[in-house]
Symmetry: C2
Subunit: 197 residues, 2 copies
DNA sequence: GAAAAAAAATGAACTAGTTTAAGACTTTTA
DNA sequence: TAAAAGTCTTAAACTAGTTCATTTTTTTTC
């Protein structure tokens, strides 16, 4: 059996934690929906109810909220091989406070709420997959937010650049500022300063 | 069958997500270890390898790291009905960077790494329990860190006080500062200011 | 490929939070 | 129950990051 590129990518991702038989692979893939988003288009907007969780097979998207002053706070950049969505809204069916906007033409595989539930019934192994996926996300989330707290903005910038060299040059400086948690003006100052060295 | 108080507490916690038979309950409880920590004693110290995950049945503990300047950053206060530990170290067997110190005499139920693995073999339902527990933690973690970013220290203080009125008066102002992410001096100013209203 | 829109740079005035230091108050311990 | 240790308060000088306003550069769009 040979699969299309996007399917190979997601099956590989899943195989980090669980082994699937050919039949299970096909069953799993049949529960997914292919989605395309053009650059600047929204995959999700505040007020929507998240009815999918997404896996990115191509492109780049930014996940962000707007604070009371309308300033964007970017919580992640999602590129190939990343999972994204708003799990809170997906689980509770409450409206999301997030925007997810493509910064490049992107391709995704989505799983709907109904199929997500079905998945656990059909292939209980997926409880384990998600248990381990969430565990890993939780670990890196905790690590990031704990580590970030004691660093200056400049240190956080250098860290991001070192950790995600492939992402840095795919996003604007303004969006990076929104992720680092500072104003674009201060981001500009930091970059000038760091490059001067 | 009647259980001791601490066992009722943890079974209740588990039953939020999965139903266990009497036999499964007893099996589960048999995999747990009872642990007592005196006030000011450490449950975990940086450099240790976390060999347990903990459920608190009585008391209060603070979970924190020390930054390069030796300043404490408190990531959570764990009280009755909370889970705590360092999942990263528990999973990877790498040394932890956390300290967990009891701020009151405390009682916990611990699950060892070996028993945690065993649990999934013996009662596969627990994959689901942990999947849902981690999912829920992830949601509140993301919510907290995203929400916190746009608030001033004063707003974060008021929010904490409103959300956890029962915790505020069990901890020192200094520890609260370490949690809010400010100096004890500034915490003192904020409290004076807020109370003056 | 010109016009419009968005992003980036620069600088001056400002503010939330830090640092340092010292004294008052509380809690712990012997 | 006295001494020691830790916590809280106050205040002045300081700094990382913001705000606002303007100009330059880059990207997008028709």
């Amino acid at each position: 059996m040979h699969y299309k590129k996007s399917h190979i990518l997601i099956l590989n991702n899943v195989s980090r934690f669980i082994d699937l038989t050919e039949l299970e692979k096909q069953k799993y893939l049949s529960l997914l929906t292919e989605i395309s988003v053009k650059r600047k288009a929204f995959l999700m907007q505040a007020g929507d109810i998240a009815s999918y969780e997404y896996f990115i097979t191509k492109g780049c998207l930014k996940v962000y909220t707007l604070d009371d002053d309308g300033a964007p706070h970017i919580s992640m950049f999602a590129v190939e091989d990343y999972w994204t969505g708003d799990m809170a809204s997906f689980m509770t069916k409450e409206p999301t406070r997030y925007f997810i906007k493509a910064t490049e033409d992107s391709e995704l595989l989505g799983i709907s709420r109904a199929n997500y539930e079905l998945l656990f019934q059909e292939i209980p192994k997926f409880e384990r997959f998600y248990r381990m996926l969430y565990q890993k996300s939780l670990i890196s989330y905790i690590r990031r937010s704990n580590h970030g707290i004691s660093l200056t903005a400049e240190e956080r910038y250098i860290e991001f650049k070192t950790k995600y060299p492939n992402i840095v040059n795919r996003i604007t400086q303004k969006d990076l500022a929104g992720y680092i948690g500072i104003t674009p003006e201060f981001m500009s100052k930091i970059i000038t300063k760091v490059n001067r060295r």
